[in-house]
Symmetry: C2
Subunit: 123 residues, 2 copies
């Protein structure tokens, strides 16, 4: 039943807060810490099927959230755009050095690179 | 009972999809189209109190979503950062023109401005 762990981990990062504590715990153990259903069952004292039901339900909740809000999709678009901005600003900085160098252009180009990084972290 | 319409409208834009159809409709009529509770009651054939209950509940759902996901908060941070990137790139373009002008710097600066606008629209 295991879905792609990276995709699941992104869904969890974006929407994990809407899950119940139990859903969060089991999902985290299964997808982020890579425990098996059997191991989670053993550690928590419920059946393997019970663990499985909780995780399947949690996965459904996260997928429905993404269908409605499209945050993961939007995140990827924004990250790609910010990377392109960052690289363009780095190219400006390099080209400016070749052209003798204006201090103000260098300053703005560096500021854009910083901002692109900061926004990428906050997205 | 009316909350700040602009704040409500932003919450609705971000999380409206998680509401039921009825919650969406009433919320939209009340906050975006500025109908009164009485008018909505008249148009839909339910009591004024019934309309009010639906809207209060919808507002709660949207607020809880924001507490959990902080999308509106994040949105504002990202928009401010993108605006600063856009302005810095415009300043580079202007400074580059003063300095005789490198075509590659101009091209990159224009590209950054375009990207900042595109990302702002997608955020």
């Amino acid at each position: 039943m295991k879905d792609d762990p990276l995709a699941m981990s992104m869904l969890f990062d974006f929407y994990g807060e809407v899950l119940t504590e139990k859903q969060k715990d089991f999902f985290d153990l299964y997808y982020n810490r890579d425990l098996s259903l059997g191991e989670i069952a053993e550690n928590t004292g419920i059946t393997r099927q019970g663990v499985r039901d909780v995780i399947v339900r949690a996965t459904q909740v996260l997928r429905v959230m993404e269908e409605k809000l499209l945050l993961v999709d939007r995140y990827k678009t924004i990250q790609n755009g910010l990377l392109e901005i960052h690289d363009a600003a780095a190219s400006i900085e390099a080209a400016n050095n070749h052209h003798g160098g204006s201090a103000s252009i260098r300053g703005y180009a560096q500021r854009i690179q910083e901002l692109a990084k900061q926004i990428a972290e906050k997205t």
